[in-house]
């Protein structure tokens, strides 16, 4: 352990020395919720270049669920749904002006806002809404494009400005999925990018850039900037250099170690909105025994991981719930497993796995997860557990670990697509296609289904919390953290805000200071 840490320290020192860049120990980041900038004036207009770590997906179809988080956060600026999330984690009316839900929570009625226009100049009609929702929910093909909308039974236009959505069974959380994009009737979004958002899509060059322009006819408070160029820079070191040189004006999702060199720029700290954990394949022979899984929970010290891998910037997690989803979080669960290597050893002995060995598969393209895995290996060693890291390329991880479920354990972060609790919890139902850890608990399935059918918010929240408690008590995974994410911008850029729970990069509020 000591040797590893020493090596790490040396490596960091060497890098720092070679780059001849000093920087304080723990970078002071400003609070995230107040848009800050210099004392200057907000300037309307202008253009900026934003660095993004990965090129957008093939298809910019907003209904395709495969879109990566990086694509979704950009599409947020182009497309809107009937409702949209705001910075406080609420859903605010967007294309719909208002909505009502009946008492049994199976019929939702939306009234459209007047005069909302698409980027092609056409006004949004009920026809467009019916077309979009029918397409997203797969009502004609029988296969929903947006999995969350699978519960829709019918979408009908009641009159010129009202649309009703009927569900197959009650779902009090349904409105949270209605940020699904509204697109013009008859348009194939894979071929044509037309939405109603504050920015419109102009062009893209593969592996190079994406250009967005302000949409002048936006219904609400439009974008401050006239033009945004998103530049694809996959290498973290190069991203930092480009910020320092001024080639890019802004980027989000930097890690604690990356911002050390950027102290003279504006740094905002927010959550990554991911659930980072040592995900355990509950079907792997030793992990079938709950005592073994619990032993791992006792052996791993999440605070230690956060300190060593993230310079202390991260929120510890005890179950599958993103911390910014406030009311659903169960803080008491953090007390469930206090780091205790001896207890871990005892539990392993009891289970008959005194010499436990397993591999941790980690996608190599995510340095944050690789770093966390390295700390975890050292912590496990202290409890007499031999874990070995197996670095794989992302496509391999996706194919073998996630889809194929051929793994023993893996360190990754899971995100959510909606503001509903189900976004974090649905995957752990025994038969869910996304349940890649093979977690099986009849009690969990039952509680989860009961929660979905409960209309009363307080009662429903309590049931979801019970689901989280089951995950923690059963030690389905070893939960680590929601790591901090840093947005960094030049001193003359301000207005960037973080959103809770979702992966969003809102460019409309960003402006240049004069």
């Amino acid at each position: 352990m000591k040797k590893r840490i020493l090596a790490l320290v040396l490596a960091v020192l060497m890098t720092a020395a070679l780059c001849a860049c000093g920087g304080g120990k723990s970078p002071a980041a400003q609070p995230s919720d107040t848009p800050i900038g210099s004392a200057g004036e907000k300037a309307q207009g202008g253009e900026i270049t934003v660095g993004i770590a990965a090129d957008l997906d093939t298809s910019l179809d907003p209904h395709v669920s495969s879109s990566s988080a990086g694509t979704r956060e950009v599409l947020f600026n182009i497309y809107e749904g009937l409702v949209k999330p705001d910075t406080d984690g609420n859903l605010i009316p967007a294309i719909a002006e208002d909505y009502t839900v009946n008492e049994t929570a199976d019929t939702y009625t939306y009234t459209l806002r007047e005069g909302v226009r698409f980027h092609n100049g056409k006004t949004v009609t009920v026809g467009d809404v019916v077309y979009s929702l029918t397409r997203a929910a797969g009502l004609e093909t029988g296969e929903p494009l947006v999995a969350e909308l699978g519960g829709i039974a019918a979408v009908e236009a009641k009159d010129g400005k009202t649309v009703t959505v009927t569900l197959k069974k009650p779902d009090a959380e349904f409105n949270a999925y209605m940020h699904a994009a509204i697109i013009p009737e008859g348009i194939d979004p894979a071929a044509e990018v037309v939405g109603t958002g504050p920015f419109r899509f102009v062009s893209r060059t593969p592996q190079d850039n994406i250009v967005l322009e302000k949409f002048a006819d936006y219904w609400g408070t439009g974008a401050m900037l006239d033009k945004v160029t998103l530049k694809v820079i996959p290498d973290g070191q190069t991203m930092v250099m480009s910020l320092r040189s001024g080639a890019i004006d802004m980027t989000n999702h930097l890690t604690a170690s990356q911002i050390a060199d950027l102290q003279d720029l504006t740094i905002l700290e927010g959550g990554s909105n991911i659930i980072q954990a040592l995900y355990l394949n509950n079907d792997f022979e030793p992990f079938r025994d709950v005592r073994v899984r619990q032993a791992l929970c006792y052996a791993i010290d999440r605070e230690g991981v956060i300190d060593l891998a993230n310079d202390g910037h991260g929120i510890p997690l005890a179950s599958s719930m993103i911390p910014s989803m406030g009311k659903y979080v169960v803080p008491e669960l953090l007390e469930l497993y206090k780091p205790d290597p001896e207890k871990a050893k005892a539990l392993l002995k009891e289970a008959g796995y005194e010499k436990l060995r397993f591999t941790i598969t980690v996608p190599s393209s995510y340095p944050a997860h690789v770093d966390a895995a390295q700390v975890i290996v050292e912590q496990l060693r202290a409890a007499g557990i031999e874990a070995e890291i197996n670095l794989v390329e992302w496509a391999t991880w996706y194919d073998e670990t996630y889809k194929g479920r051929q793994f023993e354990s893996t360190v990754v972060g899971m995100d959510t697509h909606s503001l509903a609790a189900s976004g974090c919890l649905a995957r752990f139902q025994s038969e869910s296609g996304k349940n890649f850890i093979n977690f099986k608990s009849a009690k969990y399935d039952e509680t989860y289904q009961k929660a979905l059918a409960t209309v009363d918010d307080t009662e429903q929240t309590a049931l979801f919390k019970e689901c989280e408690t089951i995950l923690a008590e059963e030690a389905a995974n070893v939960y680590i953290q929601d790591s901090a994410s840093f947005a960094v911008m030049q001193k003359d850029i301000a207005g960037y805000v973080f959103y809770p729970a979702l992966y969003i990069m809102d460019l409309s509020t960003v402006y240049r200071v004069q």
Partner: protein, 313 residues
């Protein structure tokens, strides 16, 4: 004439083998384009339908044959990741990588030959000694790391260029070349060091030959001997090395491009492999392989021009 035919035959065979191996490699590594396209929520039926649509359900040899015949007709296929013709995806990027590689190569040739000769001429002077040790250091630094150092020194400290702000060729050729000079330096410096050292060693071993003694006996000075007799002979192995190093340069430019955010083939190749975008990856692989084979051929011709005793077979 026969030689040209023979060499062209070798070129075609090499390309066929290289693309064949690349095709097989993609077959062996896990992950396929459909999973990358469909994402997390999809039914096996949808995956199967997409595989059929993309022709991935056919036998690998049939697919390879179809790819080769289409390629020969000039149809490079459609990129899976960008849903547009490969030709379109590569447009503009080939020129950038080509300019960068050529620039680096010209730097290598222009600097390393005089440098190698100078290192022998001033072998025991401070220039030779310092030059030699500097050479050792440069040889040991990988291009991408040199790239980071150059960005830092010339970009952030001296502000001679703005790292990350590449000027497109069509916008300003001068600006573009000015920016590319720095990645070109990162690529060429280690190569210059290697080539100069090779030439130096070659000249020194040539100096031990009998004809050098004869030349001395005619009363020539050491420098005259080197200049008039030795260099020509000593250049032979260096020419082969230089020609082949162009292929090497194309390969390192792929890495260095990423450090300097140059929108060339480099990142596209890396991305197309990790996205399993075979049509794009294969096309780039075939292009690089062609450069290697053609350069080998040119090296043979050049060697013959310098040394008439060598005959192309």
């Amino acid at each position: 004439m026969q030689v040209v035919l023979k060499k062209t035959g070798v070129l075609l065979l090499t390309l066929l083998l290289v693309s064949g191996f690349a095709f097989l490699a993609f077959e062996i590594i896990p992950g396929d384009p459909t999973t990358m396209l469909l994402g997390s929520d999809y039914t096996p039926e949808r995956a199967a339908a997409l595989r059929e649509e993309m022709g991935l359900d056919r036998n690998v040899f049939l697919r390879f044959f179809a790819w080769v015949t289409a390629f020969l007709r000039g149809d490079m296929g459609t990129s899976y990741s960008y849903a547009m013709p490969v030709r379109e995806v590569l447009r503009g990027k080939i020129a950038v990588t080509a300019v960068l590689s050529l620039m680096s190569w010209v730097l290598v040739v222009a600097v390393s030959v005089p440098l190698g000769i100078a290192l022998v001429r001033y072998q025991h002077k401070p220039f030779g000694l310092i030059g030699n040790s500097l050479n050792q250091v440069l040889m040991a630094i990988p291009s991408f790391f040199l790239g980071i150092l150059l960005t830092y020194v010339f970009g952030l400290v001296l502000k001679l260029f703005t790292p990350g702000r590449f000027v497109p060729l069509e916008e300003s050729a001068a600006g573009s070349l000015g920016y590319l000079l720095f990645p070109a330096l990162a690529i060429s410096l280690p190569k210059i060091a290697k080539t100069a050292r090779l030439l130096r060693a070659s000249i020194l071993s040539e100096m031990k030959r009998d004809y050098v003694l004869t030349a001395y006996s005619h009363g020539s000075s050491r420098w005259m001997v080197i200049k008039n007799h030795v260099v020509r002979n000593a250049l032979l192995p260096v020419i082969t090395y230089l020609a082949m190093s162009l292929a090497d340069i194309v390969a390192s430019s792929i890495i260095v491009e990423q450090v300097f955010v140059v929108p060339g083939l480099g990142r596209l190749l890396v991305a197309s492999i990790s996205n399993r975008d075979y049509p794009v990856a294969l096309c780039i692989v075939v292009m690089i392989a062609s450069v290697v084979v053609v350069m080998n051929y040119l090296a043979d011709i050049l060697t013959q021009a310098v040394d008439p005793r060598v005959r192309l077979m």
